[in-house]
Amino acid sequence: MLEIPCPYCGRRAHTEFTYMGDATVSRPADGPEASDRDWYEFVYVRLNPKGPHKELWHHTNGCRVVFEVSRDTATHEITGSAKLSDEGEAAS
């Protein structure tokens, strides 16, 4: 069982969380500046690395924050987590 470091709540059992996938994909702009290819890649293409992976987790049974975790997909080692924005209070 993984232990996910929520940047707010601290380390918690991964059963409290929902995995939300690769953190490096970002939603293209809604306007014409984004190509069909951009949209296809956003929804379907994943780098799927074997090794360090930045990924999003949602603290579902917790503070309900989506945040980024750095985890190695080959070893499951977790090297850190980060808030998506700095606005929130510090975990202190």
Binding site: C9, G10, A13, C63, V65, E87, G88, E89, A90, A91
Partner: protein, 208 residues
């Protein structure tokens, strides 16, 4: 209000006071009581809005904790604020004050992002205590409740008996358990079954 408008707790019909599965003369390992003495208000601010936090805190007579895992109480001890997410607090206020507080908070926070909801009837709250409380909760709570880690005043949003729950270390050795009302009876039954081996006692519901 007509007779029929009597409020019903989610535990209505399932609340039997007295000892449960305790052998004669033994002390209960865990005591349970429903808290019906609370109004619950959820307050959302923009995360990091220190001014908003101050304004709301001033109104409530306490400092809204900015730190995860903490709670704060006002001077009378009748108002408490539990940190439940960045920019989000669950406020426990004296019963009956929910709607008024929503209005007052909304006024105090006018002009800045906020959302205030009276969740009094959306939650079931059980006050649990006793020498085996930690053992019982450890069957369904995946966080560390050792007093070194979860001291007096600590609170946490976590899983509780497989549903989302808020735990608040309200008094020395006393933990308040908050779950969604639709799971209230589930929690109650779970506590009864999981607690059987420790001996349970159901105390009168707490009202004021």
């Amino acid at each position: 209000m007509p007779e029929t408008s009597a409020r019903r707790s989610a535990l209505d019909g399932h609340y039997t006071e007295g000892p449960v599965a305790i052998s004669q003369g033994a002390a209960a390992g865990v005591s349970l009581a429903e808290r019906r003495d609370l109004a619950l208000v959820q307050l959302d601010l923009k995360p990091g809005d220190a001014e908003g936090r101050k304004a709301a805190g001033a109104l409530l007579g306490l400092e809204l904790p900015a730190t995860p895992g903490l709670s704060a109480a006002n001077a009378s001890g009748e108002g408490v604020a539990l940190w439940t997410g960045p920019g989000r607090w669950l406020l426990g206020l004296p019963a009956g004050e929910g709607k008024a507080s929503v209005t007052a908070l909304a006024e105090a926070l006018a002009g800045r992002h906020h959302a205030v909801i009276d969740l009094t009837q959306a939650r079931t709250v059980v006050r649990a205590s006793g020498p085996r409380l930690r053992d019982l909760l450890s069957k369904g709570v995946p966080i560390d409740l050792h007093p070194r880690v979860f001291p007096l005043g600590a609170c946490a949003v976590t899983s509780l008996a497989h549903v989302t729950g808020v735990l608040h270390h309200a008094e020395e050795g006393v933990i308040d358990l908050f779950v969604m009302r639709s799971f209230g009876l589930h929690l109650w039954e779970w506590l009864h079954e999981a607690g059987e081996e420790y001996g349970l006692e159901v105390l009168p519901a707490i009202t004021k």
